[in-house]
Point group: C2
Chain length 351, copies 2
Amino acid sequence: MSDDSELTSLDKLGEFGLIQHLTEAIELQQSSSVLGIGDDAAVLDFNEKQCLVSTDMLVEGVHFDLAYVPLEHLGYKSAMVNFSDIYAMGGKPTQLLVSLAVSNRFTLQALESIYSGIRRACQIHEVDLIGGDTSSSKQGLILSLTAMGEVHANEYVRRSGSRENDLLVVSGDLGGAFMGLQVLEREKAVFIENPNSQPDLTDYTYVVGRLLKPEARKDVIECLSDLNIVPTSMIDISDGLSSEAIHLARASGLGCRIYEEKLPIAEDTFKVCEEFRLNAPTIALNGGEEYELLFTVSPSDYEKIANHMLFTVIGHMTNAKEGYGFITNQGERIALSAQGWNAFLNNSAPE
Amino acid sequence: MSDDSELTSLDKLGEFGLIQHLTEAIELQQSSSVLGIGDDAAVLDFNEKQCLVSTDMLVEGVHFDLAYVPLEHLGYKSAMVNFSDIYAMGGKPTQLLVSLAVSNRFTLQALESIYSGIRRACQIHEVDLIGGDTSSSKQGLILSLTAMGEVHANEYVRRSGSRENDLLVVSGDLGGAFMGLQVLEREKAVFIENPNSQPDLTDYTYVVGRLLKPEARKDVIECLSDLNIVPTSMIDISDGLSSEAIHLARASGLGCRIYEEKLPIAEDTFKVCEEFRLNAPTIALNGGEEYELLFTVSPSDYEKIANHMLFTVIGHMTNAKEGYGFITNQGERIALSAQGWNAFLNNSAPE
């Protein structure tokens, strides 16, 4: 988008023209999608399956900063965040609705970039974009997405099903997205000081990627199914491991214990933590926007899980009286707290 | 809310506390609602029915002005607008998701008022509130609602099914909501001039009510079912009769003809039009936010429809070559145009 003269102002298209333009290339892939965009409502058909629905709203200046989030990545991530909620119920995302409001500083090409990211996420996860709403805003960009998915009748995984002694398991590694945010905020501060500076992010590819282009863990759900493991409870990590572990424990009427030595932290994340003089385990506990899956399994599933490259057993569930504990490498017990990214205090991660 | 000292600032509650507070009184009523608020996704079960989904976003300063829209009415209307889309497919709304973003000028009591209106709409239409998202915004209030509904398999009514000579029928009466807006905008201007003025809306109850508290036409769908009438196409009137009639005609590959003498306009609406020196039929054609249903039926259904108090036959579908015509009381033919309330030019009605 180097040449501004090619950009199209939104008021030239009108709402109907805009929706038509942004959605004309969309083809339905799911057999449950009977009717997509273009009528008052979409029509879905779930035979012998149950339908999962989840929604998230992302607000410019609250959930994202366009100074360092490319629009295509924003679209991609906003879809992924919703798919992640469906996977966190043990389901498969199948349809997506996209509503967006934009101020007149956005051009058609800007919206195309957002939709391009959304469409790519949909392609990867075989999800049909079936509807939405587009309007203007007084200030900034607001995205509101609703994902629908399917699950075999009564096989969905709640937050509340874990039992005492169940193993607490997480996919992937933690803390990367938070450190990616630190790097980008530092670069933004440098840029504000000196607008001619060019950021060199070569050493930070991993952590910045974790923030800007998270992947909803379809592979984890498929793998659990292959291993014949049904988690007793599950959640995705949007607000930080600590906060989500407490969610699972509280919903199940239990306590939990997490071990510092077990926390999965990537080498790249460790390095960036060192550079920023931050304690990596603390970041892994409290950094949000990971979209990894946190779940509990019966102790009898230990063998299947323990050495699997996708998973790390980081602790276990306890009875409620033991509370929410974190055991340091020195054997000290610290109370876990749900610091999270509180929506009304700080930046907040979409659920 | 006369005493500001009783108001609760949102940052005291945090996101989780806020959602819990706003949703604690919600009970599920629909057998298809397997799991509601509180997990990563809601779970729905539609046996032998198809599921309808529709979404709408409402932005402060674009779709509503809090200077004259009470928050409870705003909540009520935002739910109604979504239910209306489900009825416009011939379905029955069953579930609702509510996402909202608010700036810190809003208090807990303000959000409670919005939710109170949403809940009342849900009660009237027997709809379950099953999920949503709450976050902060940089400026103003943004609501994004997604309604789900059910319809017997393949009995949904599209926009595209009308045939040449089908009767064009509308429920209720038209133009009231637009005139309600004119009245409220005039009162707002008076108030800005003289903040001590007290508006007297006694003479404008009907038109103001049409704007602030529209009713989604559940009764129309039930009545059509009782009459054993399946509309060949249907849409709800959000952008104005003219615009929606063209939508139906275009989607069906047809033209249409509307007669001025047939337009249903309430006595109260006529009076306010006279006071504002506006032409009532023009307002009935182009005023938006009605949420009446516009549909086509086979000419063989004429007897059932013609004298029914809920309905007015306002014209018929023609072949495409005849275009979109409006026949005045003088017998003159004028081309209908989709003036609507274009989202990027003016205030826009939620779809």
